[in-house]
Structures are given as C-alpha cells and as structure tokens.
C-alpha cells in the first residue's frame, strides 16, 4: 500500500506544528475568530451544532489496521468513543475540543493521516472505488491515479483558491462504484480498441442545490496526459468560474452556461498549449506509484472451496450474509467483504472505538492488513479468503457488524442532519433508523432486493438524496421538519436525478410513505425488475395514487 514518502511526512508534521501555533495564538487572543476560522477549516475543523467537528481524510478510502487502530484510540481518548464514516471517504469526529486538536493531528501524523484538503475551495480528497485493487471487474487500480492526482493537486499554488471546492472521483471498473458522474470531474478507466488503458473524462456533475449529471468531454484520454488534461480543465474553470455567487460557483454551472461543447473546446485549446510538457506522465512515474499499490501476495487457491460451500449450504444466516455482503474478487479463492455500518436502529456510518478495533484485528489477520471506507458509509475487508469468511462473519456478527443488508432497503445513506449539522432543516439519522426498524425483517429485505434509499437534511445533499432510487430531502415548513420524496435517481453507470413525487410528509408520516412506495413497487414489479426499472415502466402515477389516496 502507498506509504508517505519523506516529503509528505515532513510536510504533514510541519502543517501540524503550524496549526498548533495557530491554536495557541487563538487561545492567547492573538488571532480573532475571523482570522482563525479559515485556518481551522484548512485543517478540517468545523464548528457544528453542538461542538467542534474534525474531518479526517482517508485518501481513496484505503486504511491499514494500524491506521484504523489509531482512529479508534482517537475516538476513545479525545471524543465520545465513536466516529462517523461519511460518503466522501472521510471520518468525522463529532466532539473534539479545540485545545486537543493539535494533539489529535499529531497522533494522526504518526500513522500518515491528516485533515488537509477536507474543506475549503481547493481540490478535495480524491475518492475511488472501494473495491479498488480487488474487484473482479476492474481494468486497473484507480488508486494509482488518485494518488498521482493527489500529489499534483496537494497545495497546487494555482488551485488553492478556486471559485469553489472541487471534487474528483475515479473508478477502475465498468460498474461505477464511485459515482463519477456526480463529481466536478469523474474519471472512468477505459480500454480502447487498441487495448490501451486510459480514461473517460466526465465534467460538471454534482448534487447540492442544482443536481447535474456530468458530461463526457473526452471518451478516451491516454494515461500519460492525465495531469495536463486535468490542469487544462481546472485552468478554464479558474478563469471563467463565477466567484460572485456561491451557488453558481461550481464547475457544473459553468459547463451549463457555456454549453458542454464550448467548454470542451476551451479545455482542448488550453490543453494543446500544455500537452506534452512538464505534466506529461512518463511510464516510469506511473510504475513508481503503481508499486505502492502492488497487490498483496495472494496465495494460489482453488476458486471453489468445499468447506465454504458446505457452510453456505447448511447455515442460512451465513448464506444470506454472503449473498448481500460478499463480492467477487479478482484472485481465485478470495472475496471482498462489505461490513455494514447500518445495523437496525443505529446511526448509518457510526462505528464505536471497539468496533473499529475488531475490524482492524480482522483486517490484520484475514484481509492482508487492508480496510476500505465506502462512499455508502460502510467498511470493506477487500481480500478475504473464502475459507476465512465464516470466521470473519462470526466475529463481525458478535460485534454488531454482521448485518446482511448491503445494497438493501436498510443500507441507507444518511447525512448528519439536524442532530449534528448547523445547516440542517430536518433530522436525517432518526428517519433512517426508523426506516431500518420498519423493514427489520431481513428476509423481506432480501425479497425486496437492491433498493437504495438516501436522505439529506437540507439541499446541500450530503446524503445524496438526488441519486437514491428513493430520495428523501428534509425541508423546513414553518419550523417543522418535513420530508420531500424523489423517485428514480441513480448514482451508478445509469446515472439519473430523482423526480419529486408530490407534497412533503411530516416527520411522523415519512416512514409510512416509504413503506407505501416499497409496497407499490412489490405489487407492480415484473420479473427481475429493479426499482428504477419498474418506475421507468409505470411512471409516478401508481406510486402517487396509493400514497396520496390514503391522505
């Protein structure tokens, strides 16, 4: 796995030292809050509803056991014993004290972690497919390029003060697990007809107030041009992006206003100037980074493991968990395990210090020392032998981590909402908890099948509601919490933005409404139809009829 080189380590140490000085000066009165606020935001520290909140980056979602143990001990020593994994492959601590934050950052630096570029109008932490380096359907490991982008963008002087924050996601497989069509720039690894590997480049996607599906501006970009092409996009954006209006400052608005074709031409013109220059990526450089992500030494195993098959045959609970939480691995005899952080009635994405330690231990012993954080707020053990799956499952289940619901109704994304967030209109987490309780019958959840429900507590859309098959948006109606429902969204390769179904529901009624929608789907669905297929076929009317007839 990638290890910091010496430059990075020294740089992170220096940043912590600098921030320690800034905190001291703030507490001594030498810096006012107005002066201090941008400095703390640059280090991932927010002031939220109840307390400070620290956002720590997990670059491309990859963690070692040692790093996970550190996240656990920070949760225990400096926070209230838990952390919250987010859709941006970050972990957020909800209760750190300002006076402790420099110590926390020092501890993180010990394990090569930091909170840099988790906020501010810079290029944020690059996200990648959580099965990177493991998935059976992968063309190339996207983390190699995520890391190359990180090294280039980290503190790039030209791009530290962009019109707005800038998010890049990259996936190495045709099945998009990184929502690349909903980022400022999305990169999808592609193979061209000649068999060469490069990128499809997608720009101007995003959620928030104005959800937009990104546009492909280049179907195939040879690898060596990655950075010059990105730089060209960023330059055009930096020159033309609006700085006068916060809501119009994202690249998606620029692409809409100039038109995708014109935008593409501007980028290509700029690119012609810098192409084949200093930003060209030589094959050796790619190989150097690739070496950091060299796959673990997988054993040569049979693809078929009788002991595993037998257990699956005998033990229904195990079989159910395998069905929803285990995914195909590229190495025979191995599998990717998704650990659900959505047990019934709990806050999606929360993990206690003890749970983090359990995961760290399993990863060290049984997953080549690797853990991933997914953008759906779950964790992954990417390299587990089929013969170890039963032990992994038993240990997870004994620690509240064995819920067999990945991709199902109760595997919801929920933003922190009004329980933690200063900007919220309404609560998200308790709505998610109540939905998971309503669908507590796991057998039924498996019958319903793949269904993504996502909820945000305000229009900033941190909970990705626009791209939920069923999306829920918290709104404020005269001081009361209400919830607007959208149907038909999707974040994967079939990207779509959900459409509003009708009038919003109260906090008390929203769970019934979701159940009614799911029931309508079950009544109408044809063979093998997923929610969005049925919705596309029958439209909103039958859902509305049932839902609003009762009222």
């Amino acid at each position: 796995m990638y290890r910091y080189d010496e430059f990075d380590a020294a740089f992170v140490r220096q940043r912590v030292k600098q921030f320690r000085g800034q905190v001291e000066r703030r507490l001594a009165g030498e810096l006012s809050e107005d002066e201090f606020k941008p400095l703390r935001l640059m280090n991932g520290l927010y002031l939220q509803l109840h307390a400070y909140m620290l956002r720590v980056a997990v670059p491309y979602g990859t963690l070692s056991s040692r790093q996970m143990l550190k996240l656990a001990s920070i949760a225990r020593d400096y926070d209230r014993g838990y952390g919250h994994f987010t859709t941006r492959q970050n972990i957020q601590y909800n209760w750190p004290q300002l006076q402790d934050v420099p110590d926390i950052l020092d501890e993180l630096a010990e394990v090569e972690m930091h909170a840099i570029q988790t906020s501010g109008n810079c290029i944020r932490n690059v996200t990648a497919d959580h099965f990177a380096g493991a998935a059976a359907d992968e063309i190339e490991d996207p983390r190699i390029y995520a890391e190359i982008i990180r090294q280039w963008s980290s503190l790039h002087p030209e791009f530290s003060f962009l019109p707005r924050k800038f998010k890049i996601a990259i996936t190495g497989a045709p099945n998009d697990r990184a929502a690349v069509r909903f980022h400022d720039i999305g990169l999808q690894v592609r193979r061209n007809e000649a068999g060469e590997v490069g990128f499809e480049v997608i720009v101007g996607g995003g959620l928030g107030r104005t959800p937009v599906i990104g546009t492909t501006i280049r179907k195939f970009l040879p690898k060596q041009h990655l950075l010059s092409y990105l730089e060209a996009i960023l330059r055009v954006y930096n020159q033309l992006g609006r700085r006068d209006n916060l809501y119009k400052a994202r690249i998606k608005i620029l692409v809409q206003q100039t038109g995708a074709e014109t935008f593409k031409d501007l980028v290509e013109d700029e690119w012609q100037q810098i192409k084949d220059g200093a930003l060209d990526l030589p094959a050796e450089e790619i190989e150097r980074i690739e070496a950091y992500f060299a796959p673990p030494a997988f054993e040569t195993l049979e693809a078929n493991q009788p002991a595993f098959e037998a257990r699956r045959f005998e033990d229904r609970d195990f079989a159910r968990w395998v069905r929803s939480n285990v995914t195909a691995h590229k190495a025979p005899g191995y599998a990717c395990v998704t650990i659900s952080l959505k047990p019934e009635g709990e806050a999606p994405g929360d993990a206690s210090a003890e749970q983090m330690e359990v995961v760290a231990d399993l990863a060290e012993r049984l997953s080549c020392d690797e853990i991933r954080v997914t953008h759906e707020q779950n964790l992954v053990l990417p390299h587990v032998k089929l013969t170890d799956l039963a032990e992994v499952w038993e240990t997870l289940a004994a620690n509240g981590l064995g819920t067999p619901n990945v991709g199902l109704v109760s595997d919801m994304i929920a933003c922190p909402g009004l329980d933690y967030c200063n900007l919220a209109n309404a609560r998200s987490i308790p709505v998610a908890q109540r939905i998971s309780q309503r669908f507590s019958d796991l057998k039924k959840q498996h019958e319903i099948g793949d269904l993504k429900i996502k909820i945000s507590g305000c229009i900033n859309a941190c909970g990705h509601h626009h791209v939920g098959h069923i999306g829920i948006l918290g709104v404020d109606k005269k001081g009361e919490e209400f919830y607007q429902i959208t149907l038909g969204g999707s974040a994967d390769e079939n990207a779509a933005v959900g459409k509003i179904l009708g009038p919003a529901f109260s906090y008390d009624d929203v769970v019934d409404a979701i159940e009614s929608i799911v029931d309508t789907y079950l009544e109408l669905r044809g063979d093998g139809e997923r929610f969005n297929d049925t919705y596309a076929r029958v439209g909103a009317a039958p859902f509305k009829e049932k839902l609003y007839a009762a009222a």
């Binding site: 507490l27 509803l49 307390a51 400070y52 209230r80 838990y82 006076q99 009004l418 329980d419 001081g479």
Partner: protein
C-alpha cells in the same frame, strides 16, 4: 420606558476551548444548562446581553454568540425551535451519546 420585545430571548454560544454549547446566565457566567439562562423580553436588555457576549468573545471565553427564542413552561425555560431543542439536549439518535460538558465520558 424601554421598548417591549414580545419574544422571550436568551443568548447562546459555544465555549472557545472545548466547543460546548453554553448560555448566558443572570450572573454573567456561561452555563451548559439552558434553564439557567438569563431571559428577557426587553430589546435594550437583549442588546446589553449581546454586548456582554461580545466581551466574552474578546476575552476568549466563547465563540459565535447569538440570540435565540425560548418559552417558559411551568417556570422552566425551553427552546422553541427543533434545532435549539436538539442543540440543548444533544443528538436525538443515541441515548448513550447524549450529554454536555458535565458528562463528557473523557477523563479530562
């Protein structure tokens, strides 16, 4: 006579060092208990309270002060908005995570 302000208001902020939610009390201290707040319907008094808060900001005791509306029920002050109810009582999502500065699980 001073102007009447029909709404009952208090002043709240976060402690600078710890980040905890606090409320301005009658004695000019900052408390984690909303019910100990100094409450007023008087616009001038509210101005004076906000000025006091600014001094506490300058003294580096608190950050981000603002006024908020409360109601009095059976002699007990309660926040009006859902936001402030949650801010005063802690997240509604897990009982074991509730609490204020007096209940921090962490040994200071």
């Amino acid at each position: 006579m001073s102007k009447k302000n029909d709404k009952l208001k208090i002043v709240t902020a976060n402690r600078l060092r710890e980040g905890d939610v606090v409320y301005l009390t009658d004695t000019g201290t900052w408390s984690g208990h909303l019910n100990q707040s100094r409450a007023t319907r008087d616009a001038e008094e509210l101005e004076a309270m906000l000025a006091e808060a600014d001094e506490a900001v300058a003294a580096r005791e608190i950050v981000a002060p603002y006024e908020m509306e409360v109601v009095e029920v059976d002699g007990i002050l309660q926040p009006l908005s859902t936001r402030e109810i949650i801010r005063a009582a802690g997240p509604t999502v897990r009982a074991d995570y509730r609490g204020n500065e007096n209940q921090r699980s962490r040994a200071a």
